[in-house]
Symmetry: C2
Subunit: 191 residues, 2 copies
DNA sequence: CGGTAAAGTCATCATTTGACTACTTCTTTA
DNA sequence: TAAAGAAGTAGTCAAATGATGACTTTACCG
């Protein structure tokens, strides 16, 4: 467990504290929303003093903005590089795994906590980059941008029903079955 | 303007006040979420004294629960009676009109304000009734329930991107164009 | 009328919350 | 090892919020 010269074993670690706050913010924000989460909640979840939110982020809003902006690694690479035919499954897998992953910072989850103007703007930008821009660029034919956003809409809707609302069939469906139907729905858009 | 015997022209009207509070609650809740809306906000929007929230509903939570439960007229009739082939368009129209309608109590809008456990449960029940039960009953073949919920997922996703996030193409797309693609996506599920 | 109950108002309480500051403790380094 | 600065703590303030109860106004009925 030698930390090496680049990572001295500090008991007080600003970077680690910052990261803990960001993780806690993402977790709670995706569960309860921005307004429903206090800085004290976040600090408690991170196991850290509440005042440190202000030391490291300046304000609650900036904390949540950074949490939203740096959450999941963006799907941009996937969308750019995955063969179109495989894309529905690959993106679906991301959505399905989002909840199981402790971070819970996936678009589909985070997006549901978005009653805050600033967080909403960040989400819009991420979605537009991934779908309206990158995916649309790979589509031929008319209405490429709209068709790309419809692919996003399906994924958001599935994530929403499965992780947030928890409807019967959607919550229990396995990856394979869901994949078959998502393929069929998305195919006419990519075609 | 004779109010008649059944509707005495009272300057003080409990029923009207109650209704005004419910409407205001729906409007603000769908915009800012439950936690982001105070009882004072609701009372002000309704043009009514804040204490009346407690006279008529007992608590903020009960006000929002009733607002969520009694909001939009449910799409159950549409889902039961519309020819399957027309259903995508008909449901899409409901989603598109939701934002323009002042009430803004449509599932697609309300659903996005749902970080409250109770409201979420109500939403789940409404969605399951409409899709997992009523629509599923009209579908042949395997996975009827899941396929029905996928129809719901598309609509929720579209409503979300259009009304809440406001992505470029989705916000500006006209009913006709959108209808074409929604038809193509939903067809494999209904078939 | 005049009394009564419903409808509505007002002031206020106890908490919570975002934010800030003064202070203590640890870690590094000269 | 001692100085200095970074990391962390504790306490507190002002505003906002859910909730309540005492009070006033209005409408109706005998």
């Amino acid at each position: 467990m030698d930390a090496g010269p680049t990572t001295p074993p500090r008991r007080r670690d600003a970077a680690a504290t910052r990261a803990a706050l960001l993780n806690a913010a993402r977790t709670l924000m995706s569960q309860r929303g921005v307004e429903g989460t206090s800085t004290r909640d976040v600090a408690a979840e991170a196991g850290v003093n509440q005042a440190l939110v202000y030391r490291y982020f300046g304000s609650k809003e900036k904390l949540f903005a950074e949490a939203a902006a740096t959450g999941a690694d963006s799907p941009d690479d996937l969308i750019t590089n995955t063969p179109l035919a495989d894309l529905p499954r690959v993106l679906l897998d991301r959505i399905l795994l989002a909840a199981e992953a402790a971070e819970a910072a996936e678009l589909s989850t985070l997006v549901t906590a978005t009653n805050d103007e600033h967080v909403r703007a960040i989400m819009r930008e991420r979605i537009e980059t991934a779908f309206s821009t990158l995916l649309a660029a790979r589509l031929d034919g008319p209405d490429a941008e709209l068709r790309a956003e419809l692919v996003g809409a399906i994924l958001v809707g599935i994530g929403f029903l499965r992780h947030k609302i928890g409807t019967r069939a959607m919550s229990t469906a396995d990856r394979e079955t869901l994949g078959v139907y998502v393929d069929r729905m998305v195919a006419p858009l990519l075609g």
